[in-house]
Amino acid sequence: MAKKFIGERVRRNEDARLLTGQALFVDDIEIPGMLHAAFKRSDYAHARILSINVSAARDLPGVHAVYTAADMGEDWAPGPPLVSPPPSVKDVTFYSRRQAPLVKDVIRHAGETLAVVIAESRYIAEDAVDEILVEYDPLPVVSDLEKALSADSPLVHDDLESNLAAHLNQQKGDYESAKKQADVVIQRRFHLDRGAAVAMENRGIVAHWDEKAKQLTIWDTTQAPIPIRNGTASRLGLSENQVRVIAPFIGGAFGPKMMMFYPEEMLIPWVSVQLCRPIKWIEDRRENFYATTSEREQVHEVEIALTKDGHILGLKDDFLHDTGAFDPYGLTLPLNTQCHLMGPYNIPNFSSQCTAVFTNKPIVTPVRGAGRQQGIYIIERMLDISAAELSIDPTVIRKMNFIPPDAFPFNNTIVDQAFTPLILDSGNFVAVFEKAAEMIGYEKFVKEEQPRLRASGKHVGIALTPFIETTGVGPYEGARVQIETNGKVNVVTGYGTQGQGHFTMLAQIVSEQLGVAVQNVRVVTGDTAEFHWGTGTFASRGAVVMGNAVHAAASGVRKKVLKLASKVLSTPEEELELVDGVVRIADVPDRSISLGELSGLANPLRGAVDPGFEPGLESTDYFGPQSGTTASGCHGMILEVDPETMMVEIKRYVAVEDCGRVINPLIVEGQIHGGVSMGLGNAYYEKLQFDEDGQILNASLADYLIVTSREMPKKVETGHWETLSPLNQLGSKGVGEAGAIPVPALFAQALQNALFDHKFEILETPLSPNRLFELLQAS
């Protein structure tokens, strides 16, 4: 009987190297002759550069070069747009403005790169940066989203008429008619604010231009080595084959490392070509807050139309979205928000206008959740508010509005980030919700425990928040699978990995097809010399798109194995099985041949081959989904709050997820736990705070608060539900972002529930003890 690998809690192949400090990260690269870069960054969020004096910096011993925009000459050019607006949405307004390697004249956010110093060490480079004198002509700063659109607002881009970056309008059905039919129309305004990804590893690049070989090798902490390679080759006038981009082990990414091209990514390879030396730039933590992207700020004006028994007739949400100083990432974030406003609910009428606004703040691109968190926050808060107003139990109002399990595929018609209609492919929202309710003991808590605790003076609250997550989007990924003569299997992809366990998860998919132990499957990711077709790791698409590409390639190898083995063993293919590294006649173990030996036979050194021959046991294949899959879930929380100190303790936490076919439950659990810790951060600890001059007030880990082991609940209890996706062979969906998505809404609901004896409404996120104090004082 063939052993099962998919669905098993396989321990990770990559762990031993990581645990013993033997894994290569970008800052570990040492090349003889390597020089180090440090940037002079703007102190002002909006200013004209009158002059930059680098002569003192250049003269410092140990400094090899200092470059400003002027020094780049004709090579200076802004970065390419990453994602264009979807062609399928009508009446889209979009003004594309992109970041530059070094600012030429106008600075548009604090931290923009003004000059780069190349020196013997980072220490000397930083000394030289301190010697650079910049004369600024400060300009008025655009920092408030709403004020940015007023007629007399200063302009972030003065070649535009306003700070409008984009506008799009999406409609489903006819909201205005629905509103007329409603018994109740509830309106609210929400303010959501920025969070940062804060991966433990900051960004970094090493670029090595070998003048003799005319070859450029780049190590980059990117989630997308292939586009980086292609874009870099194009910018430098090189052939794609002359550029190799390697994303080695990466210390967490969570979205911002997908953004391309960062100014440093445009500049450092160019410097290497100028100096014919390897150049290393490693971002430090202070830079990271300014120079690496962040997201989440939006202002929503929401309206929900309901019948008096709680059925949603329609939802309207017009919102402003902060895109920062530039918008290379197109409309992905606001589209994600729009596509999650309807959540897992059957909402027949929907209207949403999104206005993206330029501000003098760092660029906005996806951070775990990527706009979905905001959409889910809005609908879940509105349902809580509606439930309170209609005197309906919050679980009842949700259950009555869920899309039923037999209604899939469910077409929400509006366009999503992949430019396709938002079609939810599968799910069972009721079952997932009820499972979470059961796991947390919702009924018993509300009926018995909570009244008892309240009577003793404790403020405890419970919440359940369901959600969907569109995942597994295209366009495609590819993989090459090959059996070597030693019997081990090589899997190669251009896709990057940042801790999600791809080395193991992808190996399991291969093992399932080829019957080889997971430890004997070697996965190579993120090296364009090995594989150069694909996009990158984002939008929770690894298991879906890469997983299915690997599955297809492994299946291709399996076919070749069976065909050849059938000849070698003189047995029909149907009677053969692949087990433990051999091909054998089913249940006749001694009639077999090892995969290694078979692989040798597949690559003859002499003789003639048949037409159509492909050497070895190797197959390359691709997978491109027609549309994204729909993962879903429901989280539950019981928390206690001290209404005097505003301190919160999470007593219980449950997370039920439906990510379709689970390839490795251990890895899925880890993703959920990590996502929840980030979500909790977004709920009560993390907020990237700007002052009105566009300066970040908490640009350090001492003040931007990441949750530690002592803030997490003792146990995040995970539960599974599996509705297989019909869109791919494996039936998988994604789960990388799921843990973070419902948490702010969940936290708000639990907190309101706990503070039942105070009259106030939570219409914002992130919260903080100070903010909660203000809300309670005002009530």
Binding site: R122, Y123, D130, T645, D703, P769
Partner: protein
């Protein structure tokens, strides 16, 4: 985030260290645990041209019983050592509790008692409790030595009475009298963060259960440890009661402190926390006193 260059000395005796400080004056900074100074240097917020490393001066690290049951601490004694010392655990529970709240485990293996005090951060636990416990500090320079009371030592936010050629070398803490109770209350964003507001309180009971003496000092409540003299006045001679604690905490939080506002907490929130925490601190201190 690399520090700028500096000249470095690693003396092995106090005299050697003092000689460097005298020679370089304001250009020199003593380096103790480095847990506060080195981050500032990495940010280039502090740029001393000379560092005098005190970590090789073994004569500065000790815990010795003092007169009348008190304790004498050498300035370079590490937090972790203090926290696990049996004398401290047995006789100085407030110090033990304060140490537990300092930063993180790694900070406690390197941070020093004297270093924390010299850094004079009004949010620091040891700064606060050294005042509430009536600590005395021995300062040494080539000129000689002087003893300073804890409440005179701290002169402002991150500033102390230390002259540039002077070192804090010893801290003397008396033991709490019999029938005493203590409490340390803190509220922070995360467990290991600096307190948004905190209060350390000690009370001594009379034979009839009324308050003979009380001390209450707030942290993160001003530019130095803020002692609530008014509260201490009100408590004298009074029998403990909820109404008393409420009155005292109201007075203390509105009259005796002057907290600022920042991104983590507004002034109003801090004042509110001061009231809440001082009430809880008094409750706990009196309860402990009764148990003794």
């Amino acid at each position: 985030m690399k520090p700028p260059p500096f000249e470095y000395f690693a003396p092995t005796s106090v005299d050697e260290a003092l000689a460097h400080l005298t020679k370089y004056g304001y250009d020199a900074k003593p380096l103790a645990g480095g847990q506060s100074l080195i981050p500032m240097m990495n940010f280039r917020l502090a740029q001393p041209s000379v560092l005098v490393d005190l970590n090789n001066i073994s004569e500065l690290a000790y815990i010795r019983p003092g007169e009348s049951g008190g304790v004498s601490l050498g300035a370079m004694i590490r937090h972790k050592t203090v926290g696990s010392d049996s004398l401290i655990v047995d006789r100085f529970p407030l110090v033990h509790e304060a140490i537990k709240n300092i930063g993180t485990p790694q900070i406690r293996t390197r941070g020093t008692f004297g270093g924390s005090l010299s850094h004079a951060d009004p949010s620091a636990e040891l700064v606060t409790i050294s005042v509430v416990l009536n600590g005395q500090f021995r300062l040494l320079s080539q000129q000689g030595e002087r003893w300073v009371h804890a409440n005179e030592f701290f002169t402002g936010s991150f500033s102390s009475i230390l002259e540039p050629d002077e070192l804090l070398v010893e801290i003397k803490l008396p033991v709490l009298p019999e029938h005493s109770g203590w409490s340390l209350q803190e509220v922070a964003r995360r467990h290991n963060d600096f307190a948004l507001m905190g209060v350390a309180a000690t009370v001594e009971l009379d034979g009839d259960g009324s308050c003979k003496q009380a001390r209450m000092v707030f942290m993160s409540a001003g530019d130095r440890p803020m002692e609530s003299l008014q509260a201490e006045e009100i408590l004298k001679g009074q029998k403990p009661s909820l109404e008393l604690f409420q009155a005292v905490s109201e007075k203390a939080s509105t009259s005796d402190i002057d907290p600022g506002g920042d991104i983590h907490a507004s002034k109003e929130f801090r004042v509110h926390l001061a009231k809440v925490l001082s009430q809880r601190a008094l409750q706990e201190a009196f309860n402990r006193a009764r148990e003794n």
